[in-house]
Symmetry: C2
Subunit: 443 residues, 2 copies
């Protein structure tokens, strides 16, 4: 992609409305634009990151056996009356009356609707386990939306719903999602820590928040240091091996880890040796939850079991907010110059900077590198504009593409370019040939 | 994907509510489910087709130089008051009041919002041409939603918006989208015919509907037979060659082609020789439209021109409804047995049918074919259930996967399988080896 033809509206000034660093950087890097309070457009650079995040989420959901569907955003109020949540949900629910005077709403979540789909088609325990997910826009009419896409009113959510015959099997479904979440965040370059969360009136131990550490995180978290060094389950994980998954979950949930809300000082001090105590700031990026028959009972979602009897299905829900996650990644990975994208979610792999667009030697070298990188499957953003050098470097650092290649008229005379690692700041002078080999190595 | 673990709720009976064949087949094949009047969920099989359709749309938009963004679904009413459409739009607009008592709406289209984005960032003609598109959910509160996803209330739309300094350049943007649309539909296996459409009060010749022929089409269309044989521009089309694009558009718009609404009997009979007259049923699958400064004037979206003066930008919009298009493809491609997917949008490439799941030889042959096909990058739906043969064949025909491979205990004894072409019905008996080679040939 040539920057001269790319819609990347960089802001030079810090936007006043941004209270946190991710919001500021997303606005400055031209990733998003606020359309109304808590409602954002995703501009081309932001959309690319969002797509990469969603692709990873999708791949890991599919790997764990969840199946993708797409439920609508507008729902009938009737279903919510059936579950009893229509009145309980309060003002965060955006209520709508259609032209036929029917009570509708903009879905803040989909337990009711997915349960309705389930009860329409599934009759027997033989069709279980079932896990349906979608990545869809949600709306929650927050009284005070803030922090950009970190807490917006209209947002994107991946929500998965599992259906099982009983608690034991529901636990297996829960474990599959638990491990899928560990893998999902790790693939995005994030260190996530599952922390026990409120289960509400149901009780039990089957509710976890996935927290990533970030100095600018929204809340305090406490955990045993060893968790930070645990290996994340590999891509060869067998999601049909219930025992194997249980032992992974066991390992990740035995050591102390708690958010502010769930923190027990005494237990913490008893269980965690002083030198292993980590207290840090964190951001919630995922939440998984077993809720039993809370919706299947009122909505009458039952299957016939092996005993010939009808059983209300045991359900769980599993959420990740991709639009929130993009902001969280920035909170966890930035410096004074701007965003520092982890490779897997970077909008481009390579930023190619011509120091003198129009100069014959610079243009030729840039075209050659651009083509070689593109042929190797790299996404390249090629700054072919005639901005000043300082402005170009600032933009490259701000948008945070992992590798920068600088082509200047002086160095190109000796056929050399500079390769900069955005994260470490390391620079190397290489021949064009060597730079191309480095960039396309292993592709 | 193993059918035993795939959520594919096939309906044996014809659903009463379905008035047209695509609606009936989408319900029967478990592609969609109605949630409320004119509001649908996409189940796994349908979601796969929708994704393939969107991928093709996206690739061709990008190829033609359009840039993808994502605007929100909920919009502020203020913008629509600025353009004057808030009152004019009528009851099809779903109006919403949020908890702060602000007037909002569920976007039925995005001219206002994209113009607002434009005016925020773009100041100079040097940043033109610009074409921004998104694929996003829209809502139009139709008084009588019907025909399944062909005319629903909540639907998906790809809408692109072009911005240019003047009419001549806007015409070039229009041509790029015109050619992109020809390519988009052709890649989906559809023969689309651009037909002159109403331009409204602006006048001019820059409005076309893209119509595909289908016996069950919604309206009558008239055209010169030769158009049906025109070659569609190849993937090597140079979208920067304005002259080349103009001559493609010229070729496709010279011969007579008109929908009912625009049909002129006298001109038709004068211009089209009797034996070249085609009168058929058609379905609108795309609409492109130049509307000049209709929104840029009231919304004050201006750029400085080379003359140093301010100019309201000339805009066009370009729409395709992916959720509608999936239904249209089925209208154009089905038979008595069910759907006949064009290869490029088929939910799976191959349907592998075991006639005796659990039989050692059948299982082994199926596993071998499944693995070889998957390794070659084919998407395989493997019917490993213990349904009766007749039911399996009916399901395979209904869901319309292009190639079926039938593995039965008798033929597998001599190491043979049957390969069936869903479209032609042709069957061939091949050795497992030969079948694998045939399926993976060229992959």
């Amino acid at each position: 992609m040539r920057l001269s033809r790319y819609f990347l509206p960089i802001l030079k000034e810090n936007p006043k409305e941004a209270e946190i660093v991710s919001h500021r950087l997303m606005l400055r890097a031209g990733m998003i634009r606020q359309q109304s309070s808590g409602i954002y457009s995703w501009l081309p650079l932001g959309k690319r990151v969002l797509d990469k995040v969603n692709t990873i989420i999708r791949e890991e959901q599919n790997r764990a056996g969840a199946e993708e569907i797409l439920m609508p955003t507008v729902q009938s109020a009737d279903l919510w009356m059936e579950s009893g949540r229509y009145d309980a949900y309060g003002k965060e629910m955006l209520r709508i009356t259609d032209r036929q005077d029917r009570a509708m709403l903009y879905g803040p979540t989909n337990e009711e609707m997915v349960t309705d789909i389930f009860r329409t088609y599934v009759r027997s325990y033989k069709d279980l386990p079932l896990n349906l997910y979608h990545i869809q826009t949600k709306f929650r009419d927050e009284i005070r939306p803030r922090f950009g896409t970190m807490r917006s009113r209209e947002f994107m959510m991946k929500d998965a719903y599992s259906f099982d015959l009983d608690l034991d099997r529901a636990r297996e479904s829960y474990h599959r999602m638990f491990v899928a979440y560990l893998r999902t965040f790790a693939r995005m370059g994030l260190k996530s820590i599952p922390m026990r969360a409120e289960t509400g009136p149901i009780g039990g131990d089957l509710s976890h928040e996935f927290i990533i550490l970030a100095e600018t995180g929204e809340s305090e978290v406490f955990c045993h240091r060893d968790i930070l060094d645990f290996d994340v389950p590999g891509s060869d994980t067998d999601f049909r091996d219930a025992g194997g998954l249980a032992s992974i979950v066991d390992k990740w949930t035995t050591l102390y880890a708690a958010t502010e809300d769930m923190h027990e000082v005494e237990r913490y001090e008893n269980e965690v040796p002083q030198d292993a105590r980590v207290s840090a700031r964190g951001i919630e990026v995922g939440h998984i939850f077993y809720f039993g028959t809370k919706y299947s009972e009122p909505l009458n979602a039952k299957v016939t079991g092996p005993d010939g009897q009808e059983h209300a299905v045991h359900m769980g829900s599993y959420g990740i907010g991709p639009t929130r996650l993009v902001a969280a990644i920035i909170e966890a990975s930035h410096d004074d110059g701007g965003i520092v994208w982890p490779d897997a979610v970077a909008p481009f792999d390579l930023m190619l900077i011509s120091m003198k667009a129009g100069d014959e030697a610079c243009d030729a070298a840039c075209e050659r590198i651009y083509e070689a990188a593109a042929n190797a499957g790299l996404d390249v953003l090629y700054d072919d504009t005639d901005e000043r050098a300082g402005s170009k470097f600032a933009t490259a650092d701000l948008v945070g593409v992992p590798t920068q290649v600088v082509v200047g008229p002086r160095s190109i005379a000796s056929s050399e370019v500079e390769v900069k690692n955005r994260r470490t700041g390391e620079r190397e002078t290489l021949s064009v040939e060597a730079a191309i080999n480095r960039l396309t190595d292993g592709r």
